[in-house]
């Protein structure tokens, strides 16, 4: 189950959906809004998504995790909207018979989600300035694939 959510993520109900008597391990990851990035004090974060493609790409990532790891269940939710410090921006939960697959799959899903989902983050700084992350035209390259050749 993958979802883009414009409202607060309900962790308790997500964890209930993962409940399964075959599962001996549950690993979850929570991404929170942090008060600092690359030395700058951050006041809040704005997330914007391209919903249909974020949905299909998110479902693809979960399917890949199920193929690669011996999972019982997998779910992930990513927020959109203007989030304050400490708020939950992304949640990933996986279950497996044993912990190894659960840890590995959870890591795989969050890493791929960050790299691939068409979701953008705008930081609002204490100074009042804002910036779309990874979209600066100077400095470090994002590492994103460019428009690939045919």
């Amino acid at each position: 189950m993958f979802k883009i959510s414009a409202t607060a993520i309900d962790v308790a109900s997500l964890e209930r959906t993962l409940g399964d008597p075959r599962a001996g391990a549950c690993v979850t990851f929570e991404g929170w809004v942090r008060n600092r990035n690359e030395g700058q004090p951050v006041r809040s974060l704005e997330y914007e998504a391209y919903p249909p493609l974020a949905q299909s790409e998110g479902e693809r990532i979960l399917a890949e995790a199920r193929d690669k790891f011996a999972l019982v269940g997998a779910a992930a939710v990513h927020r959109t909207g203007h989030l304050q410090l400490g708020e939950l921006a992304v949640w990933v939960g996986v279950t497996a018979e044993h912990r190894g697959a659960a840890f590995d799959a959870c890591r795989y899903i969050i890493d791929e989600a960050k790299a691939r989902l068409p979701i953008w983050k705008k930081e609002h700084y204490a100074s009042g300035a804002t910036a779309w992350i990874n979209c600066a035209t100077r400095g470090e390259h994002s590492g994103e694939a460019a428009i690939p050749p045919a």
């Binding site: 990513h78 035209t137 428009i147 045919a150």
Partner: protein, 80 residues
Amino acid sequence: MITVDVQYFAILREQRGVNQERLATAATTPAALYDELRARHHFTLPGERVRAAVNDAFVAGTSALREGDRVVFIPPVAGG
């Protein structure tokens, strides 16, 4: 010329000033259309930093554009 619908997100939406527009173009690929729009609207991101989606699926920048396509240019992503 073909007519396509372009949808903008994040930094491109702000730099363009609209969420979407319908436009006629002589461009035959997403990469060529991005170059045309970048020149017109002074987008800061160069084409090699932007991916393309057509009709809600990722495509190569050199794929063929068709009449009525819905095109989205995807700035470097930053989820999580």
